[in-house]
Symmetry: C2
């Protein structure tokens, strides 16, 4: 199940004709209430897509009736014309749902710098509205319609013993280095929580889930995560809700990691002994982004020297004489020196755990990433994909 | 001609047996005076190789008689034993040249985390000393002995109308994102300049040459540039010398760019209209490091949206509505929007010029980089190369 798992939500995913391939490209997720509280986070990229500019504005009111999402075009770097397309999309959905345009969030994903075919999108919103339904099938259709280079739809569902539920969907396989948000993700809940509680829970969850995923260091112009609450169930304990939401977001982030462009290895980089959590994130992220570390992962090569070099230029505080590096449980570097035969570490499997001790404090953090493979180069060197 | 181009220098490059392949792996560059002024810059990586720690110390005195360089091993992350190897290397060269060990700089390059075979290196220093000679052949031998994944030796020579000369050699094809220095480079001059003048000239030249080259964003543990002056010619005008040294360093940097691991495109990223030079460098460097931009270059794809996204997350100040992007002379993005058909830009040749206007100031900077190709992935995924 997906965004339709909680009570009070319907969804649809259809082929509007935005993608030349004719594949599904437009999704609609509607909150039928009785409450319409919402929160969201968007990319910190200074070049923001039109739908991001729009959604940032409407999120200020803490109320959303629906989210319209399209693949087949990012509507980024499209100027006033692109913004008008987003605005018209929200107005169309609002008209159909009998609410105001400011209660409609809009998300887009695809190639940057091309105008969306406005009428095609508006007709698609009408078709999606006509197709709205609750249940598994409609939720999966919505999750499928937002895919770009994703090879599988990514969804999550959780039911709390207290009765409330969380559902979610996400997309993203490249240009993934979220900052305050990631790609497109819609989360739903029937827990009765107000916008402020949702905002607090969402920021806490995103910070340690989507924000700790780094596929290629490229922060998108379109990253958006929206959380809507229908209030169809009882109020939830905020702490329990935040914890469940965090687990759901980490689940979606892991699905994006597993389906990343060209992935052959899923790597988890854990940095400990840092002076601060920020420093631990900085060191782990620098390792995760280093092209030489990523190609070594692809080659199943326990080349810990490249990890040491990356930590060294990351800017994180460290003691070179207390630097330890462990790969898949084998200590390869102890106190800044070789700890034994590097070939003792077996990296031939699909999962790699890299643990680094900086030796200056007690803070730690984890970043999930992937390798840099021939398939990544192939997929991203094709014409304007 | 190379480091032996100025009067007062001899060099040698020999196969000491450090590399298992039996290829040349040890170089010696000797200043025969009458003066021995020197300057140098080393990596800012916090994980510094033993020879970097040594050379940083001896450079404080502003006097060098010689530089010993080896390929076949970085002598980084090798602890006290590695530092003793560097110290013994300097002592051996000093004994042969009749000077103090503090007048000998040492540079190493190769795999991180393995001890160098100390006796092999010391015997190599003796063999190199015996082979010392002036002239073209000896200079080329030295430049060849420091190669790792380089496919060609990289040298430069300049003769000023005033009579003084500059020579130089460098190596480096990957793990190149220098900061205050790049890989291993030895520059020589017969101009009569003191250590302070050399230091000033070298820092000015490096800042706009090696420091503006970024192949893969990975800063090495071993980067070192050393400049030695024999004083065998007349004193040079400091401004003229700095200018000539800058041209020489840019020439060597361009040679490293052209021979980068897996390179199929040489890209120059020019950012203008920045609030400061630092901001221009930040934006240009972020573009140069972005995996999606680099794979698009490999695919000859004028995908300017990826450049816009990279500029947007770089942290540089910019006005999204005044953002212009030009590729190979074709304006593709004007005022943050598509300026026409992107296919008008032809990227099929080996050289690509990317020009970006940030629209907020008048500062500019240029970074040279390369594409991200299958060959880069292939070369760097091989076992512990």
């Amino acid at each position: 199940m997906t965004v339709t798992h909680p009570e009070g939500f319907r969804a649809a995913g259809i082929a509007a004709g935005i993608k030349a391939s004719g594949k599904p490209d437009l999704a609609l997720v509607v909150n039928d209430g009785p409450q319409f509280a919402a929160a969201g986070v968007v990319t910190r990229n200074k070049v923001k897509a039109a739908p991001v500019l729009w959604t940032e504005q409407v999120l200020q009111f803490g109320t959303l009736r629906a989210v319209v999402l399209n693949s087949g075009g990012a509507n980024a770097c499209t100027g006033p014309q692109g913004f008008q397309t987003t605005h018209a999309t929200a107005e169309k959905a609002a008209e159909l749902l009998g609410c105001g345009a400011v209660e409609i969030a809009v998300c887009s994903t695809g190639l940057i710098g091309e105008q969306l075919p406005r009428q095609t999108v508006l007709d698609g919103v009408a078709a999606a509205h006509a197709a709205l339904a609750g249940g598994e099938e409609a939720g999966q259709a919505a999750a499928t319609a937002i895919m770009t280079t994703d090879t599988v739809a990514k969804t999550v569902a959780y039911t709390d013993p207290a009765g409330w539920r969380i559902g979610g969907m996400t997309k993203g396989a490249g240009m993934i280095a979220p900052s305050m948000a990631t790609m497109l993700s819609v989360l739903t809940t029937d827990a009765a929580l107000d916008a402020a509680a949702l905002d607090e829970a969402l920021r806490a969850a995103v910070r340690v889930s989507f924000d700790r995923l780094d596929i290629d260091g490229s922060m998108s112009t379109n990253d958006t995560v929206v959380l809507m609450a229908s209030g169809a169930a009882d109020p939830a304990d905020p702490a329990a809700f935040t914890e469940a939401l965090t687990v759901a977001c980490r689940d979606l982030a892991a699905q994006m990691q597993a389906d990343a462009e060209g992935v052959t290895k899923r790597a988890t980089i854990v940095v400990r002994g840092a002076a601060s959590e920020d420093d631990a994130v900085l060191a782990a992220r620098t390792i995760a982004r280093d092209s030489l570390v990523k190609t070594a992962l692809f080659g199943s090569d326990p080349n810990w020297g490249r990890i040491a070099a990356a930590v060294g230029y990351s800017g994180a505080e460290l003691d070179p004489e207390r630097l330890d590096i462990t790969i898949n449980g084998v200590l390869l570097c102890k106190g800044g020196c070789a700890a034994g035969d590097r070939s003792a570490a077996d990296l031939t499997g699909p999962d790699v755990l890299v643990e680094v001790e900086l030796g200056v404090g007690s803070a730690e953090a984890e970043i999930r990433t992937t390798d840099l493979s021939h398939a990544y180069v192939e997929e991203n060197s094709a014409y304007s994909s």
